[in-house]
Amino acid sequence: MSDRGPSLCTVTSPASTDRVPPQLSAAPRPAPGPAADEGLARRLRALACTAPIHDLDARKANLAGEYSVYGMAEIALAAIDLVTLNMDFDTGADHDQIVARLMPRIAAQAPRRPVAEHERVARWVLENLINVGSVDRGFRAAYGTFAPDGTYVRRDYDFKLIEEVPGHGGVVYLRTTDEAVNVLVGALDTDVTSAQIAAEVKLEVLVRRGRLADAQLAAEQARYRTVQYSETLRRALEATRRNVRAVDWLNAVPDMIAEALDHVADRYRHENAILTNIRKARDEIEDAENKRRAAELVDIVKDCIRRHTQLQSRLLEAGPLFRAEQDRQAFATPMTSSGIDLYGHLVTPVLPLPLEQAVRVTDAFFARGTGLRTPVAVRVGDLVDLLLTPPVEREHLGAEMPEPDLIATPDDSRFSEEQLAMAKELLDLPADAPRRLSGLLEEARAKDGEELAYLVALLAVHAASPAVGTAYRQGEEKLLFAVDDGRELDDPGFGGADLIVGTALLDAAGMAADRTEAA
């Protein structure tokens, strides 16, 4: 599949068609001031974010092969959807998993095409959303604005839709950027908090009026908002964890955590209320289609609640973590603090500088901060030898593995498999007919002698305290139990209580149902 490489979508401002540059004419400025321009710039940026998606459909004609059947924009939006829903606190979405989940939709678009082609399309779309060909792995759009002094400035807007982030063990995960989430939700450039509240209020109203089709859309939007919101918070927590000095311990952090917890609690109450309402709606609705929609809604809101709970646990962990860091950093024996604060004196001032100036500082640090390298001295004689030596053939498979010498371990178990099977058979009692241990022992002796009786006695004693919880969890249908009713065991080989041994039936189906409900 041929790929045209990085795509630079170009968005130009309509303002560029202005008659005369304002500073050249004495007439009043024809362009609106920077304040009005800002809104325009924001909309232009929002527009730019959609460009890569349109671009996919425009560029599919350039691919080697017949790809016009595929709706690339649709696949792209579905991909962004999948990544957004799969990204969690710590990790993002797995590349291959996204491709796999995209396949059914692509296959539905062109069922007669081979599966390999479907996968190629999925990968092409995903790679183009990451924009693999460019060094930044992002997009750039140009637009124009008026500077405060009235001059017209052409600017570059850099953005990403799906970004690759490092996960545990060097794995690369995918995350959708805020820009992408905004494009997807359709509410461009809005405040996270207020949009979430708005979406939820809307949902509640819709559910009450029974307009479920709209409600589902709103619920999905609420979930995207929740994800976006968690992402914002995760970043803030990460930052505070890294550098205690960077945050105000006395007021700002505790306030922030308290506010965030309030917020989560608020959302939790709210979403639980919605959940109750929708559940009611789900049970009351007669129409099958609406019932299904309501059920889907319940799932979505449950997912929202799960994400909020996750957020809350993170918030609760933050306090102890801060205190530990505080102990480590602030209460240590005070050192004579002299010298350079690398972060405060160098990193912080350098970052806002224009590139031209910043590079002078980093160059100076690099030149003296990297240490020394002993220069390599090459002798012509060595070089000739080196160049003329034929490359060493590498053994493809490596050295031969020695055959492992296996020694059979002696079977030292006290009872044989047959004995166990016989004992089990003996103890396989009907649920309504428990038996005395003494009777069982006699039968065992008659069958296979003292050894079997010993095994039966052991199993019966073991059953005196049956692992009901484990059996319950594993979904067992019955359980052996033994009870002591005070009668003495009269037996030549064993002493103690003459236990009553029986089988208890467990309600496996009911337990399974309980488990799913609990989860």
Binding site: A142, T145, D158, P166, A239, P349, A358, D363, L372
Partner: protein
């Protein structure tokens, strides 16, 4: 430093035993300097090295001789001690100096890449010695991870982005003047990582750039690899602390002052613990989302 040697010969003939420098002494001094050129070699692991270090500390004439050898080779002696060994570093224009062009390709053509590599080194140091006390405390051992450094720079960039947004500033650079783009944007827009065909780190990504920096510093004997978490974790050596404290930090500060960026207060800016002011500065926009 060569002057010192002459002085010692003429003016200080007191220790009669060492008055005359024999070729064997010169060889020993040069040998000590050559040990210093092997930055990963630990004095505790090599008896001859330890012996020469002891001699340097106990025999002033020998010390001056070794200093002279180092100076003649274009080396600056940072410290000579059992913990750091013969800590020498390359003077500017020395054959031992590391040049950006040799360090990474594309850096001469692309100012952005050049900056990213430099900032990676600065950030590794800032992460390894987060407080001025850490840099001053000889016993301090810093710990860094590749992903940690990247995340920490990104956080700083994000803060600047938020501040710019608060002030309603448009930080998108003008298309015809890429050199005027704010430095933090270069890092922020470069992707943190990327999938490659052979499962190696994408060299052009920021974690790739930081990974290159820490690997290079490890070869310089400045870091020691301790694990694979977070893209690779490292701890600092005494040499790195010396290098950053005595060489790199000061040089970068001087450059910054020349740009007129740091206001010079009381004539001793580097000695001031600027923490308090920093704190206030950062708290105001520490990226906490729930204040509005």
């Amino acid at each position: 430093m060569t002057e010192h040697v002459e002085w010692s010969d003429t003016e200080a003939p007191a220790p009669a035993v060492h008055a005359a420098v024999t070729p064997a002494d010169a060889a020993d001094a040069a040998r000590l300097v050559s040990f210093g050129l092997l930055p990963k070699l630990q004095p505790a692991r090599d008896q001859e090295y330890a012996e020469l270090l002891r001699r340097y500390r106990e025999d002033p004439a020998f010390a001056r001789l070794a200093d002279a050898v180092a100076a003649g080779l274009g080396l600056i002696v940072l410290e000579v001690s059992p913990r750091a060994g013969m800590a020498v570093t390359a003077a500017e224009d020395s054959v031992f100096a590391v040049r950006m062009g040799d360090y990474a390709r594309r850096t001469s053509a692309d100012g952005g890449d050049r900056f990213l590599h430099g900032l990676a080194h600065l950030s590794v140091a800032a992460m390894a010695f987060p407080r001025p006390e850490d840099l001053a405390d000889d016993g301090y051992i810093g710990r860094v991870s590749v992903n940690g450094v990247d995340a920490f720079v990104r956080q700083a960039c994000r803060r600047l982005e938020e501040r710019a947004e608060e002030q309603g500033e448009n930080t998108d650079p003008a298309s015809d003047a890429p050199g005027l783009e704010a430095a933090w944007r270069i890092w922020a827009r470069r992707s943190a990582t990327g999938a490659t065909k052979d499962a190696r780190r994408l060299a052009g990504s920021t974690t790739g750039i930081v990974g290159k920096a820490v690997a290079f510093l490890t070869d310089s004997g400045f870091l020691q690899r301790t694990g694979d978490d977070g893209g690779g974790t490292y701890r600092t050596t005494a040499r790195y602390q010396l290098q950053v404290r005595d060489m790199a930090g000061g040089a970068a500060m001087a450059e910054l002052l020349e740009l007129g960026v740091v206001p010079v207060t009381d004539g001793s800016p580097t000695l001031l613990p600027a923490e308090e002011t920093d704190d206030l500065d950062l708290v105001a926009d520490a990226g906490l989302p729930f204040h509005s």
